[in-house]
Symmetry: C2
Subunit: 194 residues, 2 copies
């Protein structure tokens, strides 16, 4: 398998973590989005959406969208609950991540860390919705060690990717103690260097 | 099953269409988001994200996120391909919908139709990205009748929800002839009134 990813992107790291966790072999092809490497004709032929991550599976077929890729790679593994309702809750978190978490928490981090914007200059809506997302996570972790019960799942992979970097966008994880502890648990479960 | 949904929301209609298509019985509980009905304490106890659609399954357990709900309801049905790669491509479209289509095509429609904004006053980024999403769909339909092959799937359900209403946001589907024809096919396949 070939993984086209940018190491600064949490969405790309999700794919790496899952592949590593499952012991899959792959070639990582560093794809620098800051200089347009995901917009070249060659890249667009593979993923017309022009986004990383994208993978070429072992049979030569392409697949894009971080959460779709990790769902495909992890099929039948312990990272996906066998119980249908738990699987549905995992998917609920994963779709919520792309709609209500990533567009705020990841975008704030990107603007501060990679575009050099001051935290104080972030759009208020970005900050407000990012905080709301972190608060929602805090509540979602009230009863369990992981987002779907007591075992790490793809919901944790998807949500930890940018939550662990939230400080770079000016968010203070100390305000979300359950989230902060959960980040450590997920990093440990996935063997991610903190 | 109880479906909490707002009839003006394509995300909510996805759930209705899938339930109807599968012959599931349910109670539709109209939840007017314009007057805050998804932000009441009772609603938040069911879905802390404060978003419709949300369902209470027959066993009393809650589930949110339109695409997670339809994946759960349709499990084992003909709306989900049995081939693992086709399933992955379906999920790729569904995650792309929530990240790269709905935030532009649906938001433009909402602002024009429900907030009374003039099309000419829409944020240029919204229009530009909405057009890019429709163009991406146009290309995705070059080879097949539906988004994943020749059979309607949840990818079509997810993408048709706001594409069929794109005209309300100032987009002209006549510029995307394959998309326009596909909308008709999906409406027919799902028995949705055009």
């Amino acid at each position: 398998m070939k993984i086209y990813g940018d190491s600064i992107s949490g969405n790309c790291l999700k794919v790496k973590w899952v592949a590593d966790s499952l012991g899959l072999s792959y070639q990582w092809i560093e794809t620098d989005i800051m200089v347009g490497r995901s917009r070249t004709p060659e890249f667009l032929a593979m993923n017309p959406a022009g986004q990383v991550p994208a993978v070429i599976l072992d049979d030569g077929r392409p697949l894009a969208q971080s959460n779709a890729i990790i769902l495909h790679l992890a099929e039948g593994s312990g990272l996906i609950p066998t119980d249908a309702y738990e699987r549905a809750r995992m998917l609920e978190w994963m779709f919520w991540e792309q709609y209500s978490h990533e567009p705020y928490v990841a975008v704030a981090r990107f603007q501060v860390r990679f575009l050099g914007k001051a935290v104080a200059d972030l759009e208020p809506r970005l900050v407000e919705r990012g905080k709301a997302a972190l608060q929602r996570l805090e509540e979602g972790l009230a009863d369990n060690a992981f987002l779907v019960g007591e075992v790490v799942s793809l919901a944790d992979v998807a949500l930890v990717a940018y939550t662990r970097e939230a400080g770079d966008g000016g968010f203070d994880l100390a305000e979300y103690p359950r989230v902060k502890a959960w980040v450590g648990r997920v990093e440990q479960a996935l063997n991610i260097a903190a």
